[in-house]
Structures are given as structure tokens and as C-alpha cells.
Symmetry: C2
Subunit: 277 residues, 2 copies
Amino acid sequence: MSRMSRSERIGVMTKILLDQPNRIFTLNYFSELFGVAKSTVSEDVMLLRRALNTFNLGTLETVVGAAGGVKYKPQPGQNRISDFIQDLCEKLSDPERILPGGFLYMTDLLFMPNIAEQVGEIMAYKFQDTHPDFVITVETKGIPIALMTGRALNCPVVIARRDSKVTEGSVVTINYVSASSRRIQTMSLARRAVKQGQRALIVDDFMKGGGTAKGMIDLLSEFGVDIAGVGVMIATQQPEKKMVENYAALIELKQVDENGRKVVLEPADWIVEGDLY
Amino acid sequence: MSRMSRSERIGVMTKILLDQPNRIFTLNYFSELFGVAKSTVSEDVMLLRRALNTFNLGTLETVVGAAGGVKYKPQPGQNRISDFIQDLCEKLSDPERILPGGFLYMTDLLFMPNIAEQVGEIMAYKFQDTHPDFVITVETKGIPIALMTGRALNCPVVIARRDSKVTEGSVVTINYVSASSRRIQTMSLARRAVKQGQRALIVDDFMKGGGTAKGMIDLLSEFGVDIAGVGVMIATQQPEKKMVENYAALIELKQVDENGRKVVLEPADWIVEGDLY
């Protein structure tokens, strides 16, 4: 292979680094891949970092030491986050989404890969300094954003099941009370899925009373797992007091008026104010 | 903003194009973004394409006409696919994965974002010329690979539920017979999730008798949806005759010997032989 130009190297480097956010690649790796000196790779990294920063497309972090190298950190800029969440609120406020009982249809949006990916990157950005070992959600609708949060954090994703499945091996099951429906529900986690002492980031699509998140916290405590944080895409304004104390929501759902055909949602304060940490 | 160098433009262009595979971006878009002539953008595209091709990292396709522009097509090279699937087979053949009843524990791997993403890219590559309007799976374990297939194809993902949920609105439900367990199961799809005349790519993690895939085909026919293809990550060797005729599996599961503590899996022939279409 003839030696590549800097432009070509940077294209390839971007692909490799961005495909696996938060994974460290050594300068040696790129040096060998391209057949150039490490100092040349360093210059490539500096150029690429500057370019990404200019457009708020994330950043490259240099990690020093034996396991050192460079990694890509998604860092969606404040404007980008705020525009995206505002746009999502508009999509969600379509009265056609109102279901009987005052529920809001949002499965289609949650399962749009591009939307899930952006929500995941915002969650990852919000919680990156809590250093979770894995992301956890309970099936089903929260899975896409949990998966994309895991992708951005370079973490595995763990799923609590609604009922125990033979394909999960032995499981720990808890019953919990859904605050909103006031019904007893069940949640199971495979014994082999997590280890004592790990840290979990809980991610879900929707929080009303917080019973499900509380259920996940209780289930994880059975495994001796610590909670790094709780992030939900949408939290309802009412009840104001949730069953979990600390959580971050991207969107606040203020009202679903079934008769008046009206949905009111707003980006959370911290999204608007740019107070991302 | 001072004018960027070609290297910097290519870094940014790579990020934007690769974030949304198979989505067309006009040359004008980049021309305005960078403040350079369209001819310069064309040259950037050519350079980036050559660099990606050199490393088997996919390609850039130029689309002519009014809606024309450039798009990124994931195109994992033959060696890359074959190495990845071989490695996955090794991971899956760990006897520790054998569960009571001869089942294989694989949830952890399915929910590793990086594994799901690579499986999704292979599925997308295999089925890209079938032009599906959406990717569909039935909850739960197939969701990550379905989502990543949708991401690579720039398609929405649709989920059939095991039971009907109030958050899905009105649904169509069918009962079907699981070929392997010989039990009657239920599957529901929200009325608003799909439209008549669309084409569906069915993706799932595992096929034994093919009853679930057959169930999805029957359910979609109730909606007047055509089948673009059926792709599964793993298909069992037995029974040889499945309830669906045409499907592509990435891996063949030959044996799970619970007493002998042995799992035998192999990459599918078309993966090994490079006969990817």
C-alpha cells in the first residue's frame, strides 16, 4: 500500500475512533496501521480534535500512561442538545399520539435508531463522570436508548426481564409496586448478568411514579451493585414526588389532555440552561 | 471561523456521514458547512472514499439527480466479517454458557453494543438490496441487533410485543405455534406501527423451528406488508426443515451437549465462502 495522505489517515482514524466511543486506541496502533511515525499520528489527532471541537461533534481525549492512547468522547454541544430535545418535544406533542386512557404513543420514536442514538449520547454525556460498569433497563421500550447509552459509554447493557425466561439461567426476582398503576409487578435479573461491587447506570424511557426505577434499584441491591445514576427520557410533572430521589430527565411531560386533544411537554431545565452537569 | 484544512474537513465529513449510514447528504450541505466550493467537496469525498475502501471500512456512494448527494454505506469486508463471526462462535462455545435444558446463554453478548452493531452491519450488508422500509423483530433479545440493522440501513425499527400494551394503542394480535416448544404463543403489533404496501426485514437473534419468524410473517400479512427478507444471528442445524423457507443465518448451532459440556457452532457457509449476496 502506498503511503496515505494526512486527509486519508484522518478519515480512517475518525471512522475507527467514532465507531467505539470511549475506547482507548494507542498511538502505536495507528502508527502501525498507517506506517507513519507516532509524532505524525499525534499531529493527526490534534487536527482532528480541533475540527470536531469546531463543530461541537465531540472531542478526542488523550490518555497518558501504560494503557494510554486516544479516545473519542461524544460531547454533543449545548445548542445541538437543546435543538434536538426541542424537536423531540414537538414530535411528541402531536395530538395524534394521545391514546385512550391519556397515554402517549412514543414507541415509533424510541425505536428510530437515530433518535435513540442521540438520546443515548446525551445520557452518556450527562453521566460519563459517574463511571458506570454497565447500563441497565427493564424491557422493552427503554432498550434502544439504554443500548445507545452503553454504546456511547463503551459499557455493556443489562436487561431486567418482566418474567423469568429459561434462556437467562437462574435469576433473582423481585415484586414491586408500580406507583402509577398501583399494581404488583415482577422483575427478574439473571444471576450471571452482573457482579457484586459493580456500578449501574439505570436508563429508562419514561418515569411517572418512579416505581420501576425503584424496583431496579432494589433488585440491584440484592446483587450488591451500586447505583451510578438514574436517567429517563421523559418524566411526568405529576406526581412531583417520585419514588426515587435523584434522577435526570431530558423532557418533562406536563399534561396529556385526552378530551382537549392536547399534549404539553418541555425540555428539562438543565437542558435549556446548559447546566449539563 | 477561519477556513479549515482538507484534513479537518474530512474528519468532520466522516463523522457526519458515518453517524447516519445510508442517509444522503447533498454536496451543497458540506459546501455551505465548510464555506468551500462544491468541486472541493467532491475531491474530499473521493479522497475519503479511497481511504475507507483501502481499509475495508465501507464506502461512499454518490447519488445523482435532484435528491442527489453522497451517502455512507457500511461494507464490512469479507475478512472482517469472517473474523468477527469466528470470534463470536468461540465466545458462544464456552461450556459455561450451557443452561439447564440445553439452552445457550447469550443475552450478555447480544446486549454488548459493539457486538450488536457489527451483527447489524452484516445484516444490513446482506439485505441492503432488498430495500426494506423497516426492520422488525419480536421482543426482547433480538432488539439490539434489529436496532443496529435499522441504524445501518437508515430504517425505523418496529417491535412486535409478546402481549398487548396500553401504550401501543390498538393492536392486531395473532396466536402462533412455537415449533420448538410446541406451545401456543401470542404476538401483537400496533396498528399505527406499519402501513400497507411497506416492505419488512425480519431480524431475530435465534431460530430453531422458525415458528416465531413464521408468526411475524403471518402478522405482517394481516397488515398487507411484504417481506424483504429474514435474517437471524443463529439458526440451529436441527430441525433442518424450518417453518420459513428463505432465511439467512450468520451462525449455525450444531450441538449443545448438556452432559458432555460441549457447544458446537460454526459460521454459516456463505460467511466463510464470502458469498455475501
